[in-house]
């Protein structure tokens, strides 16, 4: 029998020996630790992680990042062209004021470090922090709850429409070491408020890092949030992301996730629709190559009546890469008039690529309309022939069709500068151009 190496809990826990919790209070810290002690890291026997093999992680020995150049000012090549956002940067899990640009016109708004917020706005912090209990989702989330040092806190009070988008930049820097980086975020959008947020992950070195992010997002009544997440961490990066949304009555949430980089990316999105008349739209696309593995794990819990939810995930897989999509729509008893849709579409470019698609419906109310669809295949031969018959080369025709395939998802983004950037990157990627920069994508159109 071959010995399967399993990611050892002790190895990662030993990193934190003697460390206390920086953000969580004693109670949350203890609960998270209890969870870690009672549970193991997911293996391929764990249903939710069946197609995502964490064994690669065992090849590396991670350590906590030493923040040598803490005050280093990074080049501004990660800014999105034509976008003047509120900018906040986190480097290796710590807030970096040098790389942030926060001039807020309203003193009630808070955008900044979570650690700082814990001291300055303890009432808000206590009201929302760890209220989603996401540490119960898996050992990574509880590790984060127990030991994360910092992250972003965004608070919009009632009746505020933010005119500028917020750009949150996470940098991982594994320079000379394989760092285990944790980020903890909290976002609260007050009643009738509106925000556009772009979160982007980048690495500033080639080394393997393990990034473990937990975000809690609260949408109060009639609030609106557009959240875009760009995964641009470089090759050799393991990225594990847990995001938990709580939506109150009449709130609207749109998310868009773009995964183009990283060795292993796991994105967990959990949405709890607590109030009636909520709209949720979760979109995403992934372009994988080499031996990358991207996993999207989505749960939408319809806990209240009259809500709509939509999921649209599309992917193109090249070389030996693999992707997994899990989407569950749960409709609780009496969540009548629920309208939920799921769609997952994949194109395999080679016979070595693999796709695992699991769109699921679990429904306990009768007056609902729920559907899901999943397709995996290749480009439509007739459409290809049509383009060829118009004198377009095979290569161009394929590129065009793949571009159109992904455009469906990008088109839903309403943050125009970011949308244009994605189109630019998509085009570049499909044409086979190397995207320069420290192997992560620098988001400036000039590179």
């Amino acid at each position: 029998m071959t010995q399967h190496k399993v990611l050892s809990k002790q190895d990662l826990l030993s990193l934190f020996e003697g460390k206390k919790s920086f953000i969580s209070d004693i109670d949350s810290h203890k609960k998270a630790l209890d969870y870690i002690n009672a549970n193991e890291f997911p293996t391929n026997k764990t249903e939710a992680w069946k197609n995502s093999n964490l064994n690669q992680l065992t090849k590396h020995k991670f350590c906590l990042p030493e923040n040598k150049n803490e005050n280093e000012v990074l080049e501004d090549t990660f800014a999105v062209f034509n976008m003047q956002p509120y900018k906040i940067s986190i480097i290796n899990g710590k807030y970096s004021p040098e790389n942030s640009d926060l001039k807020l016109e309203n003193s009630k708004i808070f955008i900044g470090s979570l650690k700082e917020a814990k001291e300055k706005h303890s009432d808000l912090f206590n009201k929302y922090y760890n209220k989603t209990e996401s540490y119960k989702d898996n050992v990574f989330a509880s590790l984060n709850t127990a030991f994360a040092e910092d992250g972003v806190f965004i608070y919009l009070p009632d009746n505020i429409v933010l005119e500028k988008p917020i750009h949150v930049l996470f940098f991982s820097n594994g320079r000379e070491q394989k760092a285990f980086i944790q980020n903890r975020n909290l976002v609260v959008i007050g009643n009738n408020s509106f925000a556009d947020i772009l979160i982007s992950y980048h690495s500033v070195s080639f080394d393997s890092v393990l990034t473990n992010v937990v975000s809690e997002v609260f949408l109060e009544e009639n609030s609106n949030l557009n959240l875009n997440v760009f995964q641009g961490e470089g090759e050799g990066t393991f990225h594990i992301n847990n995001t938990h949304f709580i939506q109150q009555k009449g709130s609207n949430l749109t998310t868009n996730s773009a995964i183009m980089c990283g060795e292993f990316v796991r994105n967990d999105l959990i949405v709890d629709l607590l109030g009636e008349y909520c709209n949720t739209s979760l979109n995403g696309f992934y372009l994988s190559e080499k031996e990358q593995h991207f996993d999207n794990y989505i749960k939408v819990n319809h806990l209240s009546a009259n809500c709509n939810s939509n999921q649209l995930y599309k992917g193109i897989l090249d070389n030996k890469s693999s992707a997994s999509f899990f989407g569950k729509v749960f409709v609780a008893r009496d969540s009548q008039k629920t309208d939920a849709n799921q769609s997952n579409k994949n194109i395999l470019l080679t016979d070595n690529a693999k796709v695992f698609s699991k769109p699921q419906l679990e429904i306990y109310a009768d007056d609902v309309s729920c559907s899901h669809g999943s397709t995996t295949g290749q480009l439509d031969k007739e459409a290809l022939f049509y383009l060829r018959s118009r004198g377009i080369s095979e290569r161009n025709a394929k590129t065009l069709m793949l571009y159109a395939f992904i455009s469906d998802v990008i088109n839903q983004i309403n943050l125009t500068p970011y949308k244009e950037l994605l189109y630019f990157l998509l085009n570049k990627r499909l044409k086979g151009d190397k995207i320069e920069g420290l192997c992560s994508i620098k988001i400036c159109p000039s590179c």
Binding site: L348, L361, I363, A365, S371, T376
Partner: protein, 481 residues
């Protein structure tokens, strides 16, 4: 109370019509399971050496495995040591004519409408009737013999066609496949065996009726159907069981083997006792059904109508090994009261140009839960494989649940896999449309439900289609949402 509510109550309170107990003397083993019991079953059946070893191997594997818990089902685990693993009607001589058969058995079949007497000639059905595990009577043996078709009980096949059994039994569902399959391999008492020789088209539909008759008797049927090169067979299986208070266990194994150019059409109507309206009693149905399209151009199609059982755990699957092989899965599952069903299929594509189609319709009523769980697995070697799956669920009443759990894996870039599913109740505009044309709401609902299931019912052979429609109507009638 409105008329609709009356109708709902009527249907909700409907007792199980086939619930009666036949009073036949039984030969029952003591409760419990150990190696001795396994040996005793084998001895009772006069089985050759290799079978005893096979059973013991399965039993030892079963001992160290645990009952799977991944299904979306909630039930008390059967107490395996409290069950008796062998029950056979006493004195089981082979009858040559119907007159010799115990009249009470005949009465039972009459109630169930088994066409054992004159009807058999009219309906053209050869019936291998099984009462609690032992074949009592097999008809049409003569006609089948002329064509070289073997259709007999599995015990007989083990004794008389041991070469075929040795070669194929356990080749599709190995003894260590899963918990229930191991249990079955260790203690199966009877079942059916069919072999269709090369190039023969079986002229009649082969049919077996199963029936659980003894309280506390686990029923472990074993079915093996082999279609040799270029042959065709349509095989039917129907179930109905009497009313019981304690949960009864049914863990059958069905293996289908289609060689080159062969076709097997397997249809089943399952109507085990589902428990009363409080959810008490009822059959546990944990079945492993699997076929293999072994040769090129072979075809296996599964058609099932599931209306019974307290708990159903059943995934008729096909391994598409031969190039150009085809498999189809058509299913209607209706659950009412506290019934739970977790059913679906697995299509494993290995060969080139293989095609599979999955059509699954689930209807939930009362407080029941109905899940579709299906896997489509396209392996790397399956060039140009094609799959289409459609799973629709209909919810009637606000206390039931309908769930869909598809697993779609693709490892080949030339393969196309499509899956779609919808869950909804009967739309008000559909009912309105029917009302507008002069149909009352009740008729409108039954029309819509029939239409919903028609796609699958149409795939059943004539005799079964009528029975299935009757069953469906029985459960559905008057269930105005």
């Amino acid at each position: 109370m409105s008329k609709d509510e009356h109708l709902i109550n009527d249907i909700k309170n409907k007792e199980y019509e086939a619930g009666f107990v036949t009073d036949i003397e039984m030969d029952v083993f003591p409760k419990g399971l150990n190696e001795d019991i396994v040996r005793k079953i084998s001895a009772k059946k006069n089985e050759p050496e290799f079978m005893v070893n096979y059973r013991l191997k399965a039993y030892r594997y079963w001992l160290q495995s645990t009952q799977p818990e991944w299904a979306n089902l909630k039930f008390d685990k059967p107490k395996y040591q409290e069950l008796s693993y062998y029950a056979a009607p006493k004195n089981t001589p082979k009858y040559n004519s119907l007159d010799e058969v115990d009249p009470e058995i005949l009465e039972t079949f009459k109630k169930l409408g088994v066409p054992l007497e004159e009807q058999k000639f009219l309906s053209g059905v050869a019936v291998d009737a099984v009462i609690d595990s032992v074949s009592v009577h097999t008809t049409f043996q003569e006609t089948l013999k002329e064509l070289g078709i073997i259709f007999c009980s599995i015990s007989e096949a083990i004794r008389e066609h041991s070469e075929l059994v040795k070669k194929y039994m356990g080749s599709v569902v190995p003894y260590n496949d899963n918990y229930f399959a191991s249990l079955n391999a260790a203690v199966f008492t009877d079942g059916s065996f069919a072999y269709i020789p090369k190039g023969v088209r079986c002229p009649v539909e082969l049919s077996t009726y199963f029936r659980i008759n003894q309280a506390n008797t686990g029923q472990f049927e074993r079915t093996l159907v082999i279609a040799d090169e270029g042959s065709y067979v349509s095989y039917l299986e129907g179930c109905t069981a009497p009313q019981r208070d304690e949960n009864q266990l049914h863990a059958a194994v069905v293996e289908l083997i289609a060689l080159k150019d062969a076709e097997i059409k397997y249809s089943t109507v399952q109507n085990w006792y589902p428990g009363d309206k409080e959810g008490k009693g009822g059959i546990y149905n944990f079945v492993t059904k699997r076929g293999i399209c072994k040769g090129d151009n072979s075809k296996i199609s599964w058609t099932q109508v599931e209306t019974g059982s307290a708990v159903t755990w059943k995934y008729p699957s096909t391994i598409l090994k031969g190039d150009n092989s085809v498999s189809e899965f058509y299913s209607v599952a209706v659950t009412n009261h506290y019934q739970q069903a977790d059913t679906g299929t697995k299509m494993i594509h290995l060969g080139k140009n293989t095609k599979s189609t999955i059509i699954s319709k689930g209807i939930s009523l009362g407080k029941s839960n109905n899940s579709y769980r299906g896997m489509v697995d396209i392996k790397k070697s399956a060039q140009n494989a094609r799959n289409f799956s459609q799973c629709d669920s209909l919810l009637i009443g606000s206390t039931c649940g309908a769930h869909t759990f598809p697993y779609i894996n693709s490892e080949n870039s030339s393969a196309i896999v499509e899956h779609e599913a919808t869950t909804s109740k009967i739309a008000e505009d559909q009912i309105f449309y029917c009302n507008q044309r002069g149909l009352d709401t009740e008729n409108a609902v039954s029309l819509i439900v029939n239409g919903f299931a028609k796609e699958v019912l149409n795939k059943l052979p004539m005799e079964f289609a009528t029975e299935a429609q009757k069953l469906l109507a029985l459960t559905m009638e008057g269930s105005v949402g």
